[in-house]
Amino acid sequence: MERNNILVLAEHDNLELKAATGKTVSAARQLPGEITLLIVGSPAATVLQAASRLPGVRQIWLDDSSCYQDFLAENVATLVAELGKDFAYILAPASTHGKNILPRVAALLGVAQISEVIKIISPNTYQRPTYAGNVLETVQSVDPIQVLTVRTTAFSAFPLSATEVAIEKIAKPFDLKLSQRVSQETPRRERPELTSARIVVSGGRGLQSKEKFKLIEEIADQLGAAIGASRAAVDAGFISNEYQVGQTGKVVAPELYLAVGISGAIQHVAGMKDSKIIVAINCDPNAPIFEIADYRFVGDLFQILPALQQELAIRLDKA
């Protein structure tokens, strides 16, 4: 079989298909070939339905063998490499899931992996950020199979199509028995998901304590926004790790990013500088966050936030 098609690894948590999947498919549509979406795990019907309506997907494979239940890298990577060897491209979102699996897949196939692709320049040439986004690198791959993780903030999803693609069940259980999941802490949230939210309200060390960080949550709820945090705020225990935005945390690019009490260390800026509008609230006029902010508000956040709450209550009501 000639290799000329694209395999995309879907991301879901068994309950919902992650928006990152649609965006990765969007990236895949810029490459030549037909797209096969691979779903593993034990996805609910809602996941399958959403997947079947992703525009541009030609076929869907579902392997719900029990060894893929917990998305263990050793097993899933073996499956993806086995299926992927007949494809020209293998793509996944550059999430912790995709980053865990795809390098292992590339190693099994003896090829390189290209991380966090932000632009597809030609069928073998890609742009990606390095040095915390301070440098952009254009690389050309000579590999017969090109394995890419996609920075999903750089691609927009297409609206779901009306027609559904049939789902084909496969069963290739590669159970390496090297690892098992013992437990997980995945707090359920009522707020939008950080990486796909339209508005993100983010807090830093300036919030001073876990209790005072609630101010961020209140503003976020008023705006229907997701919550983010700087590494300093997470390290200080104001909020848990899954909210960290930055070079080593999540990368976000919402329409509005409100940075409160965040100094703007390089690592943090790397995760949010592609936001459309950035508002910075900080008492230090020399904070580096102001260099990238569209609106710079110098002042005491403990005075500004309550006033902003009041203002929003009035103004958003009127709208």
């Binding site: 290209i114 390095t130 254009t138």
Partner: protein, 251 residues
């Protein structure tokens, strides 16, 4: 049970990186270089596990020019027992680094290999996963807690993932990659820096290892991203809400 720790020499995280005017790379002349911060965490973890009696020997390894010796000395000063430098003056892709490390692993037969989850220069986040794949070992990436269970021959690893945390039980031997909150690396003390000078650094060439480092990627262009325009000063919350509604149209 031996532990191999891979360390990389990178531009110090405090340096503002500048792209060379010809677009072939970044400026490294007269630029401060340091150990990749995630690798410092990896060394610290190995040394702590040794101090707790779970590891017998910590071996630091780096791949690079003779200048990487300074990074290995730092690893030794932080408590590694000995070091290996694989002499190589090329910039290698993660897949080739993983191949070289897998060769060393076959020679040294460690039970644990710990790496930083990513290097802050290329931000690839690949080498540990690739190494585990090449060796056919279990992998625990983005670790924020590591508990070695010698009797069960397993390692409990708590991982920082997008949804929160998950804990895996991994069969030994294992490849682990470190996240930021795994530990806080200790400072190097003068006596330890002096002691490190007596510790051995073995040098090996790629030829001796017999690794074929085929090039997979070609860097065509290196550039700086667009700079955002300078923002507007805001003096009141009503002005802020106004601008967001009527100028930026995001509320």
């Amino acid at each position: 049970m031996k532990c191999l720790v891979a360390v990389k020499r990178v531009i110090d995280f405090n340096v503002k990186v500048r792209v060379k005017s010809d677009g072939t790379g970044v400026e490294t002349v007269n630029v401060k270089m340091s150990m990749n911060p995630f690798d410092e965490i990896a060394i610290e973890e190995a040394v702590r596990q040794k101090e707790a009696g779970f590891i017998s020997e910590v071996i630091a390894i780096s791949i690079g020019t003779l200048e990487s010796t300074e990074i290995l000395r730092a690893a030794l000063a932080r408590g590694a027992d000995r070091a290996i430098l694989v002499e190589d003056d090329a910039t290698r892709e993660s897949i080739n680094i993983a191949k070289i490390l897998s060769c060393i692993a076959k020679r040294e037969e460690p039970t644990f290999i710990i790496l930083g989850k990513q290097a802050i220069d290329n931000d690839c986040n690949q080498t540990g996963q690739m190494l585990a794949g090449l060796l056919g070992w279990s992998q625990g990436t983005f670790a924020s807690k590591i508990v070695i269970q010698p009797k069960e021959k397993t390692v409990l690893v708590t991982r920082e993932v997008d949804g929160g945390l998950e804990t895996l039980s991994l069969k030994m031997p294992v490849v682990l990659t470190t996240d930021l909150r795994l530990n806080e690396p200790r400072y190097m003390t003068l006596p330890n820096i002096m002691k490190a000078k007596q510790k051995p650094i073995q040098k090996i060439t790629l030829q001796e290892l017999g690794v074929d480092c085929k090039q997979h990627l070609k860097v065509l262009q290196v550039e700086s991203p667009e700079i955002r325009r300078v923002g507007k000063e805001i003096n009141s919350v009503s002005e802020l809400v106004d601008k967001l509604k009527n100028e930026a149209h995001v509320l």
